[in-house]
C-alpha cells in the first residue's frame, strides 16, 4: 500500500505536467489566437497573426511546464497567463 502511495506521489505530478503541456499548452495557444482579435487591425490580418504566433505560445508553454520546480507552479503559470488572454478573447467573442 505504501509503495502504491509512493508511486502515485512520484508519477502523479509527472502525469499532471504532461497533461498541462499537451492540453494546457494547446488551450493557451488557442486562447492567444483568439485574443489577438482585440488588436486594432483588420480581422483577416488579426486571425493570421493569431495562427502564426500560436505555435510559439504552445512551445513556450511546454518549456515552462517542464522547466519550473513543481507541477503546481506549472499550472499556476498557465492560468496566470491564460486569465488576461481569456478576458481579451471574451471581449471579442
Amino acid at each position: 500500500m505504501n509503495t502504491l502511495i509512493h508511486r502515485a506521489r512520484s508519477t502523479g505530478p509527472l502525469i499532471s505536467r504532461i497533461v498541462a503541456a499537451l492540453f494546457g499548452g494547446y488551450a493557451l495557444a488557442a486562447l492567444g489566437s483568439v485574443a489577438v482579435l482585440a488588436l486594432p487591425t483588420s480581422k483577416p490580418q488579426a486571425v493570421l497573426i493569431g495562427m502564426l504566433a500560436s505555435f510559439a505560445i504552445y512551445a513556450g508553454a511546454v518549456i515552462w511546464v517542464f522547466a519550473v520546480r513543481s507541477a503546481l507552479k506549472a499550472w499556476a503559470g498557465l492560468i496566470i497567463v491564460g486569465a488576461p488572454l481569456s478576458l481579451a478573447a471574451w471581449s471579442v467573442a
Binding site: 506521489r9 512520484s10 493570421l48 495562427m51 502564426l52 520546480r69 478573447a89
Partner: protein
C-alpha cells in the same frame, strides 16, 4: 507545496529537466519525424523525381511558350472536363515537362470523386501516355499526411510530430551550455561520444534551418491546427472569403448564368501575364464557370524568383478577355505567412539553393537518426544484463532499424516498383505505393527476427545494393540509360543515376562501420573508465 516540490527525484537544474524533455519529446514521435524529414528532403526534388518516374515523357529541351500551351490545354479541358464549374492547370516550366490539371467533377453522385485530374503533354495537348504513377508526389504527400488514413488524421499526426520537434529543438538548445565549443568538438571512434558529437554537429550547424523548417511546417497547415480565431472572427461566408483571398489565388466562383458563351482566348490572357512577370514566369491558369457567360479566369505568377507564396494573379473576364483586376499584394500578416510558407517549400530556389536545401535537410534527417540511435547507445551501457535487454529497449532498438535503414530500403523499392510493375496493371500507381509499404513492413519483421547488429548491417547493405543497381534497372527497362542521358545533357536522369550511386556508397560506408563496431561501441573497460565523466557532464541523451 512540499509534496509537489519533490515530484522529481532530486532537486534538478533547468538543464537536466530540459535534457529529459529533449530526450522524450525527441523519442516518442522520433520515428515519424525521421520519415517526415527524409521524405520531405527528397521532395525538394519532387518535380525531378516525377520526371524520372515517367520516363516515356520527353524531356523539354526548352520551355515551350506558356501562352500557346495554356490555350492548347484549355481547349482539351473543354472536352475532357466539359461542363465543369472550375478547372486549374499548372503550366510547364524549367522543372516540369507536363501540365498537371484538375477540375471539379460536373455531376457529382454519391461516392464519386469530387475532383478529376490528369497530366497533359504540352506539345500535343493530349493526356500523357505514361505509366500510371503518383511520381514524386507520393513522398511529398506522405511527408505531411502519410497514407492509408484519412487525410485530416495524417495532417494532425504530422502537426503533432512537428510540435514535438519544435519542443525538442528549443529544449535541446537550452540543455546545451557549450553550444559553440561542442560544434568544433568531434571525438572519432569513441562510441557514445562520437554519436553525441555527430548529433551536436548536425544539430548546431543546421539549427537555423531546423528551427525554420519545423515552424514553417506548422504554418503550412496552421488553419487546420488553430481554427479558433477564424471561427470567432468570421460569421458569414463572405467574411471567410476575405481571408481566403489573402491566402490563395483561386478565385471564388459566383453563380453561373446558365447562358453558354465560349471562353475567350486564354493565350491572350497568359500573354499579358508574361509581359508583366516574364516569359516563363506564369504559374497556373484557373478558370471558374468556363463556357458560361459568368466565366472568369485567373492567371497566377510563377513561384520562381519571389520568396513568398502569397497570391499574385491577374483576373480576367472569361468571355470578353478583359482584364478585371491585378492582385499583387496582401496584408502584412498574410505576407508574413506567404514568406514562411515559401521558405518551407523552397520552390523559389534556383538549382544551387535547392541543393543547399536538400543537403541541410538531409543533415536534419541525420540529426533525428543519430538522436534515435543515441537513445539506445547510451542506455545499453547501463543495462543490468546487456544480452537480454528489457522490452522498451528492444522495442526502440528494433523500431530504429526499420525506420532508419528500413525506410531507405522501402523508398528505393518504391522506385524499383515504378520500373518493374507492368504498365497494364490495374491501379498501378496504388501498387507502387503498396510495394513501398510491403517492403517497409518486411524490414520491420526482419529487424524483429534478427539480432540487432546483423539486422542493421543487412538492411544497410540491402539499401546500398538496391540503390547501386537502380541505374542498371533503369538501363534495362527504359530507353534512357546513363550514357544516353549524358550525351543528351539530360541532367535530371544523369543526376538521378549519380545520386543513387552516391547514396549507395553512403549506405555501404554505414554498413561497414556498423560491422566493425564491437557490441556496445567500445570495449567494456573503456566505457567504465569514461562513465564518470559522462555522468558528471550531464549531457543530453
Amino acid at each position: 507545496m512540499t509534496a509537489a516540490d519533490d515530484d522529481l527525484p532530486a532537486p534538478r537544474g533547468i538543464r537536466q529537466s530540459m535534457a529529459s524533455l529533449h530526450t522524450w519529446a525527441g523519442l516518442l514521435l522520433g520515428w515519424i519525424l525521421y520519415a517526415m524529414f527524409l521524405t520531405g528532403t527528397v521532395s525538394y526534388f519532387k518535380d525531378e523525381l516525377s520526371q524520372w518516374m515517367r520516363p516515356e515523357l520527353r524531356r523539354l529541351a526548352q520551355i515551350p511558350d506558356q501562352a500557346v500551351v495554356a490555350q492548347r490545354i484549355a481547349d482539351e479541358l473543354g472536352k475532357v472536363a466539359a461542363g465543369t464549374s472550375r478547372w486549374s492547370m499548372r503550366l510547364p516550366d524549367a522543372r516540369n515537362n507536363s501540365v498537371a490539371a484538375f477540375w471539379l467533377t460536373p455531376t457529382r453522385d454519391a461516392g464519386q470523386r469530387a475532383f478529376g485530374d490528369a497530366y497533359f503533354d504540352p506539345a500535343t495537348g493530349r493526356k500523357v501516355a505514361s505509366r500510371d504513377t503518383l511520381g514524386g508526389d507520393f513522398f511529398y504527400r506522405f511527408h505531411f499526411q502519410f497514407h492509408y488514413m484519412p487525410v485530416v488524421w495524417g495532417r494532425w499526426l504530422a502537426g503533432a510530430a512537428a510540435m514535438f520537434m519544435l519542443v525538442a529543438i528549443v529544449s535541446g538548445v537550452i540543455t546545451h551550455k557549450k553550444i559553440f565549443v561542442d560544434f568544433f568538438t568531434f571525438r572519432w571512434r569513441k562510441g557514445q561520444r562520437s554519436w553525441l558529437d555527430a548529433h551536436n554537429a548536425l544539430s548546431v550547424f543546421g539549427l537555423p534551418f531546423h528551427f525554420m523548417i519545423t515552424y514553417t511546417g506548422l504554418v503550412t497547415l496552421m488553419a487546420l491546427y488553430m481554427p479558433w480565431g477564424e471561427r470567432v472572427a468570421f460569421k458569414t461566408p463572405a467574411e471567410r472569403q476575405q481571408l481566403a483571398a489573402e491566402l490563395s489565388g483561386f478565385i471564388q466562383p459566383g453563380r453561373p448564368s446558365g447562358q453558354k458563351v465560349p471562353l475567350a482566348s486564354v493565350a491572350d490572357m497568359v500573354r499579358q501575364a508574361q509581359e508583366r512577370w516574364g516569359q516563363d514566369n506564369v504559374g497556373r491558369v484557373n478558370a471558374v464557370h468556363p463556357g458560361d457567360a459568368a466565366a472568369r479566369v485567373a492567371v497566377t505568377r510563377g513561384e520562381v524568383g519571389r520568396v513568398s507564396l502569397s497570391p499574385q494573379y491577374m483576373e480576367f473576364d472569361g468571355t470578353t478577355g478583359k482584364l478585371l483586376t491585378v492582385r499583387e499584394s496582401v496584408g502584412a500578416a498574410a505576407e508574413t505567412r506567404g514568406v514562411l510558407y515559401a521558405l518551407h517549400l523552397g520552390r523559389f530556389s534556383d538549382l544551387e539553393t535547392r541543393w543547399l536545401y536538400f543537403l541541410v535537410s538531409f543533415m536534419g534527417t541525420a540529426m533525428v537518426g543519430t538522436g534515435l540511435v543515441m537513445w539506445t547507445v547510451k542506455r545499453r551501457q547501463k543495462l543490468p544484463d546487456p544480452d537480454h535487454p528489457h522490452f522498451g529497449f528492444r522495442l526502440v532498438e528494433r523500431l530504429n532499424i526499420a525506420s532508419i535503414a528500413g525506410l531507405s530500403v522501402a523508398m528505393t523499392a518504391f522506385l524499383w516498383a515504378n520500373r518493374l510493375l507492368p504498365h497494364a496493371l490495374e491501379n498501378r500507381a496504388d501498387w507502387e505505393i503498396h510495394a513501398f509499404f510491403i517492403v517497409w513492413l518486411l524490414t520491420l519483421l526482419h529487424a524483429l527476427l534478427r539480432p540487432a547488429k546483423s539486422a542493421w548491417i543487412e538492411q544497410l547493405w540491402a539499401a546500398s545494393a538496391l540503390l547501386f543497381l537502380l541505374p542498371v534497372l533503369n538501363t534495362l527497362t527504359t530507353q534512357r540509360p546513363f550514357w544516353h542521358s549524358l550525351s543528351e545533357a539530360d541532367w535530371v536522369f544523369v543526376g538521378m543515376d549519380i545520386m543513387c550511386w552516391a547514396l549507395a556508397l553512403l549506405h555501404a560506408v554505414l554498413a561497414i562501420r556498423t560491422a566493425r563496431q564491437r557490441a556496445g561501441g567500445r570495449s567494456r573497460r573503456d566505457i567504465d573508465r569514461r562513465a564518470p565523466n559522462i555522468i558528471a557532464s550531464g549531457e543530453v541523451g
